[in-house]
């Protein structure tokens, strides 16, 4: 492969600050895993906000959106309510959806969801669902009550974080699967490790996975947890941006927490890790000084944008950067 082009992203700053933008009643903050849908006159950015269960005080994630002017410098509106209903009793997405990847396929707008349901011996299990919108992305209906991708023989748990693109007539999905739940020093609950995988499909519904195959090499070793893959083609090369962290002590220890990773591929099969080639220019803000996570790349009007969360996993909202050519 030729010399990898650097991706220099110029910070646009904290475009969605949940402390200023009013979330609908019942949401206590967080705007996690921003994902864009480009509309005629605006960019709709979906994100997961949290409510707190009256019973037990646990968090639950719900998908809202914020509409922005295409340049991302003006917030137009925030959705008044979640775009998709809560999952049913005992279903894979009963306790939240985070993230939700929205994809335009011809005239259709569809969403690939990562549904969360709580467990007893571990905190959570996830699986990937599918929903369609018939009103331009304001609301979504599930295709069925169950997931389209869930645990399999070699991906035993935590199948989630879908990101779908149609390339050359084939649906590609990058997603994550769990490789370990284990007890680590300093934590009272088992912590999880997951890796990025790849699936293909002709219709975006029935998928063929390279089951249990980790496509992005580790930088931190086997304890590296990789999440939120997002892929874009730039000048004939495929770039993936994702986030990664250590399995243990990642919540408050800045040195072990989420940061952005980067990989390159010519064929969508083999990927070279190139974290150093991803550069965020401009000053970090108080919101993204310690952590960058949950990236999402989209293109609009000849520009390539990067959305991401900052400190405390997106507690304060999300920001953006634009690719410098």
């Amino acid at each position: 492969m030729s010399v990898a082009p650097r991706l220099r992203w110029r910070r646009l700053g904290h475009v969605f600050d949940v402390r200023e933008a009013r979330l609908p009643d019942g949401f206590m903050g967080f705007a996690q895993a921003p994902q864009a849908l480009v509309l005629d006159d605006r960019v709709r950015i979906y994100f997961s906000a949290r409510s707190v269960d009256a019973n037990g005080g646990k968090y639950r994630s719900h998908v809202l959106f914020a509409d922005f002017a295409p340049s991302l410098d003006r917030l137009i509106a925030v959705s008044p309510e979640p775009v998709i209903s809560r999952g049913g009793l005992g279903c894979f997405d009963e306790h939240g959806i985070f993230p939700m990847n929205v994809v335009r396929v011809g005239e259709e707008i569809r969403a690939y969801t990562c549904g969360w349901s709580r467990r007893v011996s571990v905190s959570v299990e996830t699986a990937i669902g599918l929903a369609f919108s018939r009103d331009g992305g304001r609301t979504f209906d599930r295709v069925g009550p169950g997931p389209i991708l869930s645990a399999t023989v070699r991906e035993p748990f935590l199948v989630g974080d879908p990101s779908v693109r149609v390339i050359g007539g084939t649906f590609h999905m990058w997603y994550i699967f769990g490789t370990a739940w284990r007890r680590v020093p300093g934590s009272s609950i088992p912590e999880r490790t997951y890796k990025i995988g790849h699936a293909v499909s002709v219709d975006g519904v029935d998928w063929t996975r390279d089951e249990g195959v980790q496509i992005i090499p580790d930088r931190l070793g086997p304890d590296e947890a990789q999440a939120l893959p997002s892929v874009v083609e730039i000048d004939g090369a495929f770039h993936m941006v994702f986030c990664y962290r250590e399995t243990a002590d990642f919540r408050t220890n800045v040195a072990r927490g989420y940061r952005l990773g980067h990989a390159l591929s010519a064929d969508l099969i083999s990927w070279d890790r190139a974290d150093a080639d991803l550069v965020l220019t401009g000053d970090a803000g108080a919101w993204d000084s310690d952590m960058q996570c949950y990236p999402h790349i989209y293109e609009h009007a000849g520009q390539v944008y990067l959305l991401y969360n900052g400190n405390e996993f997106g507690r304060f909202g999300f920001g953006a950067a634009v690719l410098e050519r």
């Binding site: 049913g88 009793l89 005992g90 279903c91 894979f92 009963e94 306790h95 349901s117 709580r118 467990r119 007893v120 011996s121 571990v122 299990e125 699986a127 599918l130 295709v143 069925g144 009550p145 169950g146 997931p147 389209i148 869930s150 645990a151 399999t152 023989v153 070699r154 991906e155 035993p156 748990f157 935590l158 769990g178 739940w181 284990r182 007890r183 088992p190 999880r192 519904v205 249990g212």
Partner: protein, 299 residues
């Protein structure tokens, strides 16, 4: 193991018929059980005579966070050339509902004494139209193919605040026993109510047709005699379209005794020219399983 002998499933060996079943140690401090699967060998000439009871489970429980961390139940074993394949329901515990189930597979190369998993995850778990409780597998090989009869949950009903699952009988097929294709619809229509729960499909071939025994119950209030498990029957020419005719099952609850409140989990098998029916009684197998022998011909 303290109690229960659930979900009997047979494997005919040279001198014995090995009956796999599931059992439970004492409940934990929170009153919750785990299930293990094991076997008992019965004399092939006189299956009322126990030759040997296995001392260990055939498979250990799964690791932290896996689908079979809290139970392996039921298990269904079949020959595949030089090895044996086991298909089983793996149980995990959930917060809003008590449990979820997915189907795992394991291989034995020591004649069915012990098994090892194909991998740490399930071969058949939740899918678009099977949102939870994919379990109760019965493996069969008819006409050169592989058939997996199982159940899939369709609703968790709240009865006095307690979630109760409703499930239906489903079929997946395979050419190798490893990669499965789901038929994706219910095989048996409900009879006693719209939310009838159906379980433990047991299919055999006789007289040029396929026969299925299964158990069914009401959606709620099913732990006593009135709404409890009964054994149903259906027949089919193609394994896909089934005609239900419960009176043909020919087995009902007894007037008294261990199977007076309910009968469930039927398993029919042929051995040395005779047909046997193994089934569970009260408390879904709390006191063990029974065996019946067919008196009339199979229609």
């Amino acid at each position: 193991m303290r109690a229960f002998a659930q979900a009997p499933s047979s494997l005919v060996l040279d001198d014995v018929v090995r009956m796999y079943f599931s059992c439970r140690p004492e409940a934990d401090a929170a009153g919750q059980y785990v299930s293990y699967s094991s076997f008992v060998d019965l004399d092939r000439a006189d299956p009322t005579r126990v030759v040997r009871v296995a001392e260990h489970p055939i498979l250990e429980l799964g690791g932290t966070g896996t689908f079979d961390e809290f139970g392996i139940y039921p298990v269904s074993v079949i020959r595949d050339d030089w090895r044996l394949m086991a298909y089983y329901g793996g149980w995990t515990r959930c917060e809003s509902v008590p449990f979820d189930v997915a189907i795992g597979a394991a291989v034995s190369t020591d004649g069915g004494e012990t098994f090892s998993r194909l991998g740490p995850g399930p071969i058949l778990g939740r899918s678009l139209n099977e949102p939870f409780i994919v379990g109760g597998p019965k493996i069969r090989r008819f006409d050169g193919g592989w058939q997996l009869f199982y159940i899939a949950g369709r609703a968790w009903m709240l009865a006095s605040g307690r979630p109760e699952p409703v499930y239906r009988i489903r079929l997946a097929t395979s050419s190798d026993g490893l990669h499965w294709s789901r038929l994706d619809h219910d095989l048996i229509q409900p009879r006693i109510e719209a939310h009838e729960a159906q379980a433990s499909p047991d299919v055999f071939s006789a007289g040029g047709r396929y026969h299925m025994f299964f158990s069914y119950r009401r959606s709620i209030d099913y732990r006593g005699k009135a709404g409890g498990y009964r054994i149903g029957y259906a027949s089919s020419d193609d394994l896909v379209t089934w005609v239900r005719d419960d009176p043909q099952a020919g087995i009902q609850v007894s007037d008294d005794g261990w199977d007076a409140e309910m009968v469930s989990y039927p398993h029919v098998f042929e051995m040395d020219g005779r047909w046997y029916l193994a089934y569970l009684g009260n408390g879904v197998g709390r006191d063990g399983f029974g065996l019946a022998v067919l008196e009339s011909g199979l229609g």
